[in-house]
């Protein structure tokens, strides 16, 4: 479903961030992208979701070469993924409900249908009672949950999360990881960037697990 072939990425004015990356992710996998800070994890995720274009090599999404997609087609590639950003990227002048509504609004979902989907997503992450709350008044963990609700509300086949448990205590982190595990169990491809493979990992998922370890922009097998 996702295939990288000799992909490299260099930001303008920077040394090579990713070099010669080749791998394949099948549908329904639970993927951990690991590596120390600056290894290139976020960059890899951005290449998958079409937020960045590779400097070299080919990226195939559902057998479609998206390495040099024209600008008009990029938004439609991005909509295939549910994204949880490292810095949340929530809208702080909008309440929880409106934050989660954004992807549906972008996708042109009618207001009636959107309402039930938004509530389902908020319910899933345990924020149903905070519909009208502004995200700035919520804890870091709650904001992370809100970001996840926004990522899942348009029911993507593939969920991509960049260090979703970054600075949360262990109990809360496990809670969040459970959310992702649940999605993996219902067939969603889940790709998570993290410094290390989490300790908390249910046995039944290990068979579906795949690890992409990055070291200074190179894939270590």
């Amino acid at each position: 479903m996702i295939k990288f072939d000799q992909v490299s990425k260099r930001y303008p004015g920077n040394s090579t961030t990713l070099s010669n990356i080749s791998f394949e992710i099948e549908s329904g996998k639970l993927v951990f992208v690991t590596g120390i800070s600056g290894a290139g994890k976020s960059t890899l995720l951005k290449l998958i979701a079409g937020l960045e274009q590779p400097s070299g090599g080919t990226v195939l999404i559902n057998n479609q070469n998206v390495s040099h997609l024209n600008a008009a087609a990029v938004p439609f590639l991005r909509r295939k993924f549910g994204l949880v950003f490292q810095d949340h990227k929530l809208l702080y002048d909008r309440n929880c409900y409106e934050n989660v509504a954004l992807p549906l609004y972008i996708n042109g979902v009618s207001a009636d249908e959107a309402a039930s989907r938004i509530r389902a997503a908020l319910d899933k992450v345990g924020l149903l009672n905070k519909e009208k709350v502004m995200p700035i008044t919520m804890s870091g963990g709650e904001q992370q949950r809100l970001a996840i609700a926004r990522a899942i509300v348009s029911r993507p086949d593939c969920l991509i999360a960049d260090e979703p448990t970054g600075n949360l205590d262990e109990g809360y982190a496990n809670n969040i990881m459970d959310l992702f595990y649940d999605f993996q169990r219902v067939g969603v491809t889940v790709i998570i960037a993290t410094h290390e493979i989490p300790q908390y990992l249910p046995e039944d998922l290990k068979a579906q697990m795949q690890i992409l370890h990055l070291n200074h922009g190179e894939l270590v097998l």
Binding site: L51, F76, R78, L91, L102, P103, G108, V109, S110, A111
Partner: protein, 300 residues
Amino acid sequence: MKSWADQQVQTIALVTERMWDKKLSSLLIMLVIGIALCLPAAMFSVVHQIQTALGSTDHKPEISLYLKMDIDEASKHAIEQHLKQHGDIAEFRFVSKTTAWENMKEDSTQKEAADALSINPLPDAYFVVPKKVDSDRIKQMQKEMQSWHGVDVAQLDSKWLERLDTILELAKNLSHLLMLLFSVALLAIIGNTIRLQFLTQREEIEVSKLIGATHWFIRRPFLYAGTLYGVGGAIFAYVLWVGAIAFFNISITDIADLYASQFHLALPGIGALFLLIFTGAGLGWLGAFASIQHSLVHIE
């Protein structure tokens, strides 16, 4: 299709809500747009009305044909035939040299001059009223008549009218120029307003782009905002226009009464309102589009 319409409705609701939140500044923008739309439109309309009013008054231009003193009957007859058959002539009358002479003698102001002369110095004359008040056409007619055999002088009266017409024509051209200038100003005003709004929503736009918003999606609310400003401005323009004309008509009554004239300016009709709305909406859309296009390039 339903979802498309749904999105438009959602966007309009969002945009009007935002405008409502900033009532005062929205109204001010519309007022400025209104003034910019109203001035050239009203000016054009007023000039046009004065032109038509002049065209319909008694001050029609007249061409006086003074015939040669020694003209023979056959040439006179030929000229009469020419005049009768001429398509551009509304009416003409003949004043013979004898009649003119008698008129002159009867006229107290000219009596002395007439008495001083022993023989009649006046020629036979035709006074011709052309059909259309089109100065180019009339000038052409004058030249044509001048060339007729037996005509001494073909003289065009009401030079003043011609001159006024030229001035009005100039004013009309000026109103066209104003339209152009104010359109540019309008585009700049709307473009700048939209640019500032874009900046305050920049974060939202960037996030939207990251999760798959197309450029059209991002443009849409701004295009509606620009269009609504234009429509609001058009309504202001109409109100200002009506107000200005009404005021003018009240103050002109006194003068018009003095000259027993029925002249008053017509209020702009529903057609003018639609034209204003159409123009305002079009310029608003265009200004917003140009502005967003510029801003989008910058966030890439």
